[in-house]
Every structure is written in C-alpha cells, then in structure tokens.
Amino acid sequence: MEEIKDIRQDFYVNMGPQHPSTHGVLRIVLRLEGERVVSSETVLGYAHRGVEKMAESKTYVQMMPVMDRFDYVSSMLYEWAYVGAMERALGIVPPERAEFIRVIMGELNRMASHFVWVGAFLLDLGAFTPFLWVFDAREKIMDMFEEVTGQRMTNNYFKIGGVHDDITPEFLKMLDDYLKMIYQRMADVEELIESIVFLERVKDLGFISKEEVQSYGLTGPVARGSGVMIDTRKTEPYSVYDRLNFEIPLGTKGDCYDRYRVRMKEIIQSAKIVEQALGMLPEGPYAEKAPKVVKLPEGEYYFAVESARGLLGVYLLSDGSTKPYRFKLRVPSFANLSIIDKLLPGNKISDVVAILGSIDIVVPEIDR
C-alpha cells in the first residue's frame, strides 16, 4: 500500500520588520496553523544604534538631546530621569517652581503618549476614526509644548537644576482651555471606541496574571492592568508627587480590555494632576544655578521615574570625569515586550496585533 504522506507544513509568517502594526522595526516570526498561532519568536535589534556605548564618549550635557530620542512619544519623562540622576549626583535641588513645571510637562507628555497609544491600538483593531479624534487632543498638547519649549517633540526642555525656560502666559491660557475641554473629549472618545465590536475583540484576550507581572518584571499600565500596584510616583515618590493627590487606576482581570481601561483612566488622572499642579504653582526662579562643566563625583547613581510605559531607570557610573564611565537604561518597553512570546500562542493572527498593541512598545527604546 502506498504510504500516505503528511502534506501539512509549518506555515511561517514574518510579521515585520516592515509591517503596519509592529509600531516600528520589530519582527515577530509566527508559526501558524491556519489562523492560529502555534508559537512565536520576537527578533529585536533592527533599530539598534548603540546609544549606551555612545554615551561613554559624550559629555553629560551633550547626552541631553539624545535622551529625547529613545522614546520619542514621551520624551520629557526621559529627560527627567536623566536630569534626576545627575541632580542626585551633584546634590542640586531644583526650585519649587521648576519641580511643578516638570510635573505639568511630564503629565502632559504622559497624556500625549497615551493618546498615541489609544489611537494606534484602535488602528490595529481596524478602526480609523478614534485615531484622529485623539490625535486632535494630542495636537493641542504639542502646540503647548511648542509655545514653551520651541519644539513639538524631542523638546530638550529639562536641564540640571530646573528647566530651560519659564512657562508663558499664553501657555497658561492654552492649558486652561485644554483642561476645560479634555474631560468631555475623553467621554466622547470612550463612547466612540467602546462599541460591541471593540469589546468582543479585546475582552478576555491576552491574560497576564499577577505572578507573571512579577516574574517578567512588567511595569506601567501593563502591570497595573493586572491589578498590581506598581507606580514609581506612589511607591517611590520623586519630585513633588508626594504632595499631589491622585489615584492609580488598577485593572482586575489583566486582559487587553483592562490595560485599555487603565490607560484611559490614567489620562484623566494626569489631567487632574496637571490641574492641581497648576493651582499649587509657586512664584520664583525656574532653575537652580548649575555648574558650567558637569563633572559627577565618582560613584554610582540611579534615578527612576514612571514613564508612560512603566518604570524607567537611568544608571550612571562616574569616574569623576566629564563623561560617564558607564551609562545604562532600564527601559519599560523591553521588559514589557518579554512576555509577548508567552501571550501569543493559541490566539488568532488578528489577536496578535491586539495583544502587541495592548502592551504599548516603542521600538527605539527597546533597541537603543
């Protein structure tokens, strides 16, 4: 009898590095069985520029603008982490006003980042309109940044001892109008997004348990979506966050829908923080005097902030010269992405983009 040959083959699909939904040059090799993912492998390094090595040949101040270019979506939070580490080393305490300006700018940037996320996530799911609705809200934040810092993205606004420029009356007016508008806009966007199709797509998809959050070192909205209370602003308060009153939204089940809810609530919380900080904004200098030539005393320094994606740490090892001996970043996207290969198997190919989208990665910060 003739032997019946098994003609089934493994069907591999390269998702990326050029693909509309991998948010940059990320490559995921999917092994498929029909529409179902059997296993996946994430391949990194397409945007690797060796920035951490580059930092060793640049002075501390020269490195400032480069900090914007890791996570270009929430760049000021990166500046904050770097500036914070240097201030800790030099023992400089920025004036009150500077701290509040930093909080305002940082939270606005967090909102802008989450807006980009919401838009891109819905784009991954196939809905185009929410993208433009939230980008309209983000555009106004960009306009405010332009007013104060002169740049829309990659602002290079923070400096050792404070910020580069004081905020202007026009900025305050724009911010005032913005805060009046944003709650209504968020309600509208939510109403638009949460159609039955959306709920069907994202509910009960891509569960992350509390144990997995800890074993994979997940932080940010991904961890909070699973109900784990990790937020540097609360657990290890920096700047003036201990004086501000805000909530940390938490999810319960840890599915894609919870992660979406957490981010949507965080936008509202950030707006509330900005409102408070604006009310508490003191008069005074916006920057402390800092040395012209920055030389960190010998030693190791670490400063962590809560970026829009999670815990962001800057580690500096100084040998006392004008350049760092070692520069290392702890980036949230890298740790958060590590769980993707565990989440994907068993899901459909359409869910791959939903799960990847819900994790919210920025590839240049992963590859560095």
Binding site: S21, E35, G126, F198, K348
Partner: protein
C-alpha cells in the same frame, strides 16, 4: 431618423447600453471615492480633500491619473497569467451586474425574467478573482487574505439569499421591474425590516468593508489579497470595490426601498438619491467600527444571521399562506 432606427436594432441597443453603463460606472467611481473621503474626513474632525477642484471634487480624477501613470510591477515568483488576469476577474462581474439594475421604469439594459438570480450569481464570480489574486501573488499575506475572503463570501451569500427570498415569495417574481412595481404602494422595508438589516450587514461583508474587512485587514495582513498589486491593476481592484458598493446599494434600493418609485422628482433621480443614501450608511459604518476577528465573523454569520433569516423566511411564508 436613421439614428433612431439604429437604436431599435440589437446592435444599437448594445452600444447604447455599454455607453450608459460606462457613464454610470465612471460617475460612481469618481463620486463614491470623493464621498468616502469627504464623509470620513468630517467624521474624523477634518475636512478631507480640499485642494483639487471645489471641495476636492476632482481629487479622484487626479488620483486616477496618477495610478494610470504608475509602473505596473510584477514581483518575482508570481504566476504571471493569473496575476494579470485577477483584477479583471474581480472587475468585470461588477460591470455585468449593471445589466439588470432598473434605474427607472424605462432605463434598464435588459429586464431579465431571472434578474435577481442573475445579479447574485454574477456577483459570486468576483470571489474567484480575489482567490486568483491571492494565490498568484506568491505572498503569504495575500494567500491568507484570499482564504479568508473565500470563507467569508461563502458564509455571507447564504443570509443574503435567504433575506431576498422573502421578497421573491411576496412578489412571486425574480424580475426586478416587477419587484419595483409591487412596491408602488408600500416599500418592502416596512413589512420586511429584518431582512433589510440582514441584507445590509451581509452586503457590507460581501464588499469586504470594515467591520468585515478581514480579507484585506490592513493592520494584520498588510493589504490582504492585493498586497502585491500596484498602479492600474490596483486601481482596478479599487474601482471594483466602489462599483460593488454602488451595486449592492442599488439592489437594496430596488428590493427594499421601492426602487425608482417616488413623488414629484423623476424616477431616475429618486433611484440615485436612495442608492447614495445606502452608500452613505455603508461609509458611515466603515468609519465607526473596528474590525471583527475572522472566527467572530463566522460565528456571527452561521449562529446569528442565518438562523434569523431562516426564521424570518418561515414567518413570511406562514403569514402569506394564511392571507
């Protein structure tokens, strides 16, 4: 006089019909694309095309010109014959479907007595074209898009046919002109509202448009079955899509909205008003909802739409029997 007599010959009718269909087709391709871009623009808090012509009216023509000028790329490793033929296999059924559309009581290419059957049989041919495109492209995304398209088309044919069977049972005819005439008193959308909704949902699925656009799911399959197509070949797929949108709307008008019936205005104007109202709804749905997952799409069809259509058909038959 000679011209008039020429029109009465068979050849004259053919030439006139082809010219008429091409005019409607071109007009629709330009207007529907423009409408889609304008409506989506306003839904998305922006203006849409504004530069070329008043309110961007000539934008579609400019885009068409650009696509004609572009190089037609045939990638390596494709099945050249199938690859070249596929766009036209998708496109020509759309033109053929115009044959039975009753634009008014007089404007109809051919009033076939199996008009309805003809329309839906011809529409199935396009699926073969889509599968040819996906298969010949030698691209995994294209193949997956094509496979999804087949599954979807076969699934959603059934609720469509079941929903229009109600109309056939009521009017006892497959002839479209008679179906329209039967609606001179009351439009079928009133007694047959559920079939209308089923028809509309299934038609959007047949058109491969959001929320049922899984064969070309941009964020998953790049562009699905037409990933490898460029230039005019892509434009042909594109035009077929918008022509089909017009055709299913025209069929919805004919079957449920009373066709060309209407007061004061000439019948053909009523026909176009109703058709573009349906086109507007289809565009509106597209720019509001995300995309369904393929398995959810199948579940929705087999577990909800098809049983609902069947029950409705039973009820209609039952009521007609009693009356």
């Amino acid at each position: 006089m000679e011209f008039a007599s020429l029109l009465n010959t068979f050849l004259g009718r053919v030439i006139l019909s082809v010219a008429g269909v091409m005019i409607v087709f071109t007009f629709n391709a330009l207007i529907a694309v423009w409408l889609e871009r304008k409506i989506s623009g306003h839904i998305q808090l922006r203006l849409g095309p504004m530069e070329v012509g008043p309110h961007g009216l000539l934008q579609s023509a400019a885009d068409g010109l650009k696509l004609i000028c572009k190089e037609i790329i045939t990638p390596q490793g494709v099945d050249k014959k199938l690859f070249g033929l596929a766009p036209y296999m998708v496109f020509f059924p759309s033109l053929l479907m115009f044959v039975v559309i009753p634009f008014s009581d007089k404007l109809q290419v051919q009033d076939l007595n199996i008009g309805l059957l003809y329309f839906f049989s011809i529409s199935c041919i396009a699926t073969i074209g889509i599968f040819m495109a996906g298969w010949a492209s030698n691209n995994k995304y294209s193949l997956m898009g094509a496979v999804r398209s087949i599954a979807q088309s076969i699934a959603y044919e059934i609720p469509i046919i079941l929903s229009i069977l109600n109309i056939v049972i009521i009017t006892q005819s497959l002839k479209l002109s008679e179906i329209v005439k039967a609606q001179s008193n009351i439009w079928f959308i009133v007694p047959q509202f559920i079939p209308f909704i089923i028809y509309l949902i299934s038609a959007i699925a047949e058109l491969n448009r959001t929320p049922f656009d899984i064969p070309e799911a941009e964020s998953e399959l790049v562009a699905g079955f037409h990933t490898e197509y460029s230039g005019m070949r892509f434009a042909v797929f594109f035009m077929a899509e918008y022509t089909n949108m017009f055709l299913v709307s025209a069929m919805a008008t004919t079957l449920f909205l009373g066709g060309w019936n209407g007061p004061i205005l000439p019948p053909v104007v009523w026909f176009f008003i109703k058709t573009y109202a349906i086109v507007f709804i289809i565009i509106w749905v597209r720019w509001t909802f995300p995309r369904l997952r393929p398995d959810q799409l199948m579940n929705f069809c087999w577990k909800f739409l098809t049983p609902l259509a069947l029950v409705n058909l039973l009820v209609t038959t039952f009521i007609l029997k009693i009356l």
